[in-house]
């Protein structure tokens, strides 16, 4: 009924954040139901155009939060494909449904007690070794993360490599939805990134040094001075502050060291 009759002529898009644009309408099937939407819209905006008010399946709208995992199929193709609704542009006749939540297994652990020994990861996620290296996870990843390579690295105990390879993971769970071995890759990767960041990468000594100086009250007096300073004096201090050049290396030092 309505969809087709209502939208014969080009119409403005759904979204307030856009000025009105006009575009050709194309059919899409949201959970099997046909709607006509302007081409060029993302799946998310197309759903809103169709009249959906999203509660689940919508988060940052910018491809970083992983809330809007979506599965779709195109006509004449048996293959199920996955994408983020906020990133993927609609295509004519695509059949789609969102996967806003995925009940994947996440191990609970006490981080303070964990070491960088890979065996601890193996103990928390024994299903890691169910991976058959089919690469479905990598194919599913909307971020282009080499998911299977990261899993393989982890199987070999290479925590650093697994952490680095998985850094772009947005935890949408699409890899898990396609995994033959029932792995929750994104939860495992979260664990190894934390182990890597806290146990393998050296701590910043200068940071510890600064924290100590602050705790000893080294800056209390100069901050009190600033808190009491008049606006005009602050402006002078501000305008005269020495600016570290953009191109300066790590060894750059300011001339004025009174407030360091």
């Amino acid at each position: 009924m309505s969809a087709k009759q209502r939208k014969k002529k080009p119409v403005p898009t759904a979204v307030k954040e856009k000025e009105q644009i006009t575009a050709k309408l194309i059919p899409i099937y949201i959970m099997g139901k046909r709607y006509e939407v302007p081409e060029g819209l993302t799946i998310m905006k197309a759903m809103e155009y169709a009249g959906y008010v999203l509660v689940r399946g919508c988060g940052c709208r910018g491809g970083t939060c992983g809330a809007c995992g979506t599965v779709y199929r195109k006509p004449g193709d048996y293959k199920l494909q996955v994408a983020l609704a906020c990133q993927k542009t609609v295509e004519p006749d695509m059949y789609l449904a969102q996967i806003p939540f995925f009940p994947a297994n996440r191990a609970a652990y006490e981080f303070a007690g964990l070491t960088a020994a890979p065996e601890e990861v193996f103990r928390l996620y024994p299903e890691l070794f169910r991976c058959v290296a089919c690469n479905s996870c990598t194919k599913a990843c909307p971020q282009g993360v080499e998911v299977m390579d990261a899993v393989s690295a982890l199987k070999q105990g290479a925590i650093a490599q697994a952490a680095q390879l998985s850094f772009d993971c947005i935890q949408c769970g699409l890899c898990t939805s396609r995994c033959f071995g029932e792995l929750a890759q994104y939860h495992m990767f979260q664990l190894v990134r934390r182990i890597y960041g806290a146990r393998i990468v050296p701590r910043a000594e200068h940071l510890a040094d600064m924290v100590k100086a602050g705790n000893e009250g080294r800056y209390d007096r100069c901050l009190d001075e600033l808190k009491r300073a008049k606006e005009d004096d602050l402006k002078k201090l501000y305008q005269n502050r020495e600016i570290e050049p953009v191109e300066a290396g790590e060894d750059w030092k300011p001339k004025d060291t009174r407030y360091l």
Binding site: K16, G59, R241
Partner: protein, 551 residues
């Protein structure tokens, strides 16, 4: 046909950028900068900023900041009724009981929950979307802290914060912030946040707009996401932190002693209103970009609808610095699919020029955000913006310079998130520039609190974007991620202590909501508006006119 992935329409304009590029690169290499504006020049330039458009705001007629002029979109929410009839909520039927109730699910809320739990409290987090669906997740640039003693100190961080905020910031809050920032950074390091570091563990850092020292630390171009997912992971390990998703708070509950003692929650899926009783409450609901102030596009996540402002204000907390809103200078104008999308300031701090239609520089690319945005708007008003085939106008951000300055592949590795999204749209931003313009980014002001995150309501703590004072009239890059960590920790600790030592048993009440309704009526506000709105409404008028269910 296309040129470097852009429609042919842009070809002559991109050519101009390419023509001027070698000379601009030469200047970069010599360290020649486009001159920064003086404070006076900045002030002049700010007249072009949307905050300075008087027709964009009006006085609030009710509440603790009555008479304060803020954006119409905020006033509309403050001059609105509660979502529930306060007489109908049965406060004797408690659905959830906890020591500390944390409202919100982003960085500030999660950090606060962790620290409250560490201080012995049972914590309940009530969040509107999923845990972690928040602007924190989207922050890309980095996190500021003065941590290299040989060249930087909290003193300089303080001056930078004030300069950015027009010297109007709350001095106590700023001092607490710069002083505790290093410790907060170390805490994140201990939780396993993967900061970009040198092989010896030394933190890599760069400038942000308005910084005098390179103190912006980062995690590739996904700093906020890395911090958010790490603290969320830690929260998930804590047995005494429970999370209720899709259950936003719609009113605060006070008790007969005037203490904040819980909130009315709304299950967005079953549409039930539920009562959560707590001994202390932390409001950390974030910002408001989805109000689309003055019709601007936004970088904010879906739930950024100023809920906390409405709740806190009705309970008696005044507003602070709500007259200013931050427009990030570099939101995408074209291609349409990613319009409004944030392009991190780091492109500019690494040396990408901003250019007008003639391929000329017209501003230093590292002015504070409000000044930079105002300058962009002026350039476009002067007819020197780059037109788009969709009838808009923008400014070039010359990203390909970074590959030339820092080595082939720099854009692709240091800005992998951006590169990928553009690549999907057929544009290689290590070869072609990006077209940008200001986009609604951050709520500079918010609920008034002090350096201890206390409000005028005992037992009600606030932290993060929902507060006002730290950033004054304009926030600097890298200070929001640090804001949520420093003040999330303070709020968490103080709320736990309050719950243990000061909270009193007493009858729960929504009297403040009834009084607010009365005040609206007396002020002559007649409206059907209800607030908080919880989600923006992007339904088309065509659909709306057929949604005829009687209400």
């Amino acid at each position: 046909m296309s040129y470097l992935g852009y429609p042919d329409f842009f070809k002559p304009y991109i050519k101009k950028v390419e023509e001027t590029r070698p000379a601009r690169l030469e200047k970069r290499r010599k360290g020649e900068e486009f001159p920064f504006m003086s404070l006076q020049q900045r002030e002049e330039m700010l007249k072009y900023h949307p905050d300075y458009k008087e027709e964009g705001r009006r006085e609030i007629r009710v509440g603790p900041s009555k008479g304060y002029r803020v954006a119409h979109e905020f006033v509309d929410l403050l001059e609105a009724k509660s979502r529930v009839d306060p007489n109908k909520v049965d406060l004797s039927r408690i659905d959830y009981e906890t020591d500390v109730l944390v409202i919100g699910g982003g960085g500030a809320a999660t950090v606060a929950a962790l620290i409250a739990e560490e201080n012995g409290a049972q914590v309940l987090m009530a969040t509107k979307l999923r845990h972690g669906d928040a602007n924190t997740m989207m922050a890309e640039g980095g996190i500021q802290a003065a941590v290299k003693r040989e060249k930087d100190s909290p003193y300089y961080h303080y001056l930078d914060v004030l300069g950015g905020g027009h010297f109007k910031n709350d001095p106590d809050i700023v001092a607490a912030f710069v002083k505790q920032a290093p410790d907060a950074l170390q805490w994140l390091e201990s939780l396993g946040v993967m900061f970009s570091k040198f092989p010896d563990g030394r933190l890599d850092a760069m400038h942000g707009g308005g910084t005098c020292r390179k103190r912006m630390h980062y995690c590739a171009d996904l700093s906020g996401m890395e911090i958010m997912r790490t603290v969320r992971d830690e929260a998930r390990n804590r047995k005494n932190i429970k999370v209720l998703e899709f259950c936003p708070a719609v009113e605060l509950i006070l008790n007969e002693h005037g203490q904040c003692a819980g909130a009315v929650l709304y299950n967005m899926e079953t549409k039930e209103y539920l009562v959560a009783r707590a001994k202390a409450v932390i409001l950390a609901t974030g910002g408001s970009g989805r109000l689309h102030i003055q019709g601007f596009m936004t970088t904010n996540h879906y739930g950024a609808t100023a809920d906390g402002i409405v709740l806190g204000y009705r309970a008696g907390v005044p507003l602070s610095f709500m007259h200013t809103v931050q427009y990030h200078p570099t939101g995408v104008v074209f291609p349409e699919q990613i319009e409004g999308w944030l392009i991190t300031e780091r492109f500019r701090t690494e040396g990408a020029d901003v250019l007008n239609v003639h391929g000329e520089k017209f501003v230093n690319e590292r002015e504070p955000r409000d000044v930079e945005s105002a300058r962009f708007i002026k350039e476009c008003l002067d007819g020197k913006g780059v037109p788009t085939p969709t009838g808009k106008v923008g400014i070039w951000l010359d990203s390909p310079m970074l590959d030339i300055l820092h080595g082939e592949g720099r854009v692709r590795t240091a800005f992998v998130g951006k590169w990928k999204v553009y690549d999907r749209l057929g544009i290689d931003i290590s070869r072609a520039p990006m077209l940008v313009n200001p986009t609604l980014h951050y709520q500079n002001g918010g609920l008034k609190d002090n350096a201890e995150c206390e409000t005028v309501v005992p037992g009600l703590y606030v932290s993060g974007e929902v507060t006002g004072g730290l950033h004054g009239e304009n926030r600097l890059m890298g200070n929001s991620l640090m804001d949520i960590v420093v003040f999330g920790r303070i709020a968490g600790r103080n709320a736990a202590i309050f719950a243990r030592e000061e909270a009193r048993e007493g009858e729960l009440t929504l009297k403040h909501v009834k009084a607010y309704h009365k005040e609206l009526k007396e002020a002559g506000v007649t409206t059907d508006r209800i607030a908080p709105i919880l989600l923006p409404d992007y339904t088309t008028p065509e659909v709306k006119e057929k949604q005829l269910t009687v209400s």
